[in-house]
């Protein structure tokens, strides 16, 4: 992943990883996952090669929708390795993580199997699904660490089979009885 167009993707990857899970901080970062705390949620860095359709028709929104306070702001491109969109979205002050599809539409952690034209539409759709009194949990940071260079895939595979995630030994016996274990490489835990 270091030549041709791959260089852009790899560069973006390193940016993301460096800011979220680099080095010994990896476990510390992921340890905080899934706890219901307000934190920064970045919409993901997206591929530079893809055409960018108009986003929300602006750089921010701030509205009350069905009694929920929705705020979104497009983050400045500075410091990121691609020119694409990244948004910070909150619902009642809690981060709502968005993912982007290749066609430029957006999906949220709350509504994961449908996508919407703009971050605002995705945020409203998420509010539509929130039950009375329910608040968002922050599931975002670990999800920014999805890409690994080719060389790291082997390590990932080994983690999947041998790493005891902080004592969470799944003891799984999978296909062919080879003793494979469940264990996300992010060490995602509550």
């Amino acid at each position: 992943m270091v030549d041709g167009d791959g260089a852009t993707a790899a560069g973006a990857t390193e940016q993301v990883r460096a800011s979220t899970t680099a080095g010994p901080g990896r476990r510390r970062v992921t340890r905080g996952l899934l706890s219901c705390v307000a934190a920064l949620a970045l919409a993901p860095v997206v591929a530079a090669s893809r055409p960018v359709p108009p986003a929300a028709g602006g750089d921010s929104f701030d509205e009350t929708y069905r009694g929920r306070h929705i705020q979104g702001v497009r983050l400045p491109a500075a410091g990121r390795s691609t020119s694409d969109d990244a948004w910070r979205i909150t619902v009642d002050g809690r981060p709502l993580h968005l993912m982007r599809r290749a066609d430029g539409t957006w999906l949220s952690m709350v509504d994961h199997y449908t996508s919407y034209r703009t971050p605002l539409e995705a945020a409203r759709a998420a509010v539509d699904e929130l039950g009375p009194g329910q608040r968002l949990c922050d599931l975002a940071p670990g999800l920014l660490d999805h890409t690994l260079p080719d060389g790291a895939k082997d390590m990932m595979g080994r983690m999947g089979t041998t790493v005891d995630m902080d004592g969470m030994d799944m003891g799984g016996v999978g296909a062919g009885g080879t003793g494979m274990r469940v264990g996300g490489r992010h060490g995602v835990r509550s």
Partner: protein, 288 residues
């Protein structure tokens, strides 16, 4: 000797009880929540530069096949007689049919807050508290049929539309492809609105509540749904025996999908298996 995965509607009362009890025990042991976390962690979208293993990618089917095997193994460590049943949503199509019964997965969520209040996975039983969720709600939620904006489950014709495509997947191997068995079954469409959600995605939306979000594994119907999809992959393989998982080789360095999809002989994270190794399950299980 391969074991048999059965239609959930055909399980005996004893088989239903054993399946439910095994799920509750896996949850009690803390293992179940690790499955929820793994699914969240591996959901990457195709507008990003990440490697996509579980969704919007050719490995959607082998990833979930492998994921199901791990859950099934966990269940069988509790009770070796248990296998994963499948839910044929082309036949059991109403909000009160199998598997939405008190002796299986329980019923629809109540209107006020979508909380599932009957059956073995109701919060009040104490055995199914949501610990890894998108919200701070600790109870399982469902909105079967999507009351506020109703939609129908996919039909046999919808499944056949996918099955009849002889090509497993096509470039650029993502959610935008309109050809190929994989995305016709996974169900990413174009545009917006009801017509844009097919098969797999549409069922997640029909069940609603927890099943609509990143933590969809919290609803045990996740496994029954994916077992049925897994069965369709096997049917597709039988119908198109000269066709196989694609891509056969990793996209080259000049391909925008380079490093972003799992090719036939690539390891499928977080496991050591490759799609090639997961194509033939006949030595492990078969569908009745």
């Amino acid at each position: 000797m391969a074991y048999v995965r059965k239609n959930v509607g055909g399980l005996t009362a004893n088989e239903r009880k054993r399946f439910v009890d095994a799920l509750l025990e896996v949850k009690r042991r803390g293992e179940y929540d690790e499955f929820v976390r793994t699914h969240i962690a591996y959901f990457a979208a195709d507008g990003e530069t990440h490697l996509r293993a579980a969704h919007m990618a050719p490995s959607f089917l082998p990833w979930h096949r492998r994921f199901l095997l791990d859950l099934e193994s966990a269940l069988r460590r509790v009770d070796p007689s248990v296998t994963l049943p499948y839910w044929d949503w082309t036949r059991d199509r109403t909000t009160t049919s199998t598997p939405w019964t008190k002796d299986l997965l329980g019923g629809n969520g109540r209107r006020s807050d979508q909380q599932v209040v009957n059956g073995p996975f109701a919060y009040a039983t104490g055995g199914w508290t949501i610990k890894v969720g998108v919200t701070d709600g600790r109870y399982l939620t469902r909105d079967l049929g999507r009351a506020a904006s109703p939609l129908q489950l996919p039909t046999k014709d919808d499944v056949n539309w996918a099955l009849n495509d002889p090509v497993y997947d096509v470039r650029p191997w993502d959610s935008t492809v309109t050809q190929g068995f994989r995305n016709k079954l996974e169900g990413w469409g174009t545009g917006s609105g009801s017509a844009s959600w097919h098969n797999h995605n549409r069922v997640h939306r029909w069940v609603g509540g927890a099943m609509l979000g990143a933590a969809s594994v919290n609803d045990p119907v996740f496994w029954l749904h994916h077992a049925y999809l897994d069965m369709q992959w096997e049917r597709w393989q039988r119908a198109h025996s000269s066709h196989r998982y694609l891509p056969a080789d990793p996209p080259g360095a000049d391909d925008p999908q380079h490093g972003r999809v799992v090719a036939r002989h690539d390891k499928l994270p977080p496991w050591n298996d490759t799609p090639d190794q997961l194509e033939d399950m006949s030595g492990i299980y078969r569908y009745e």
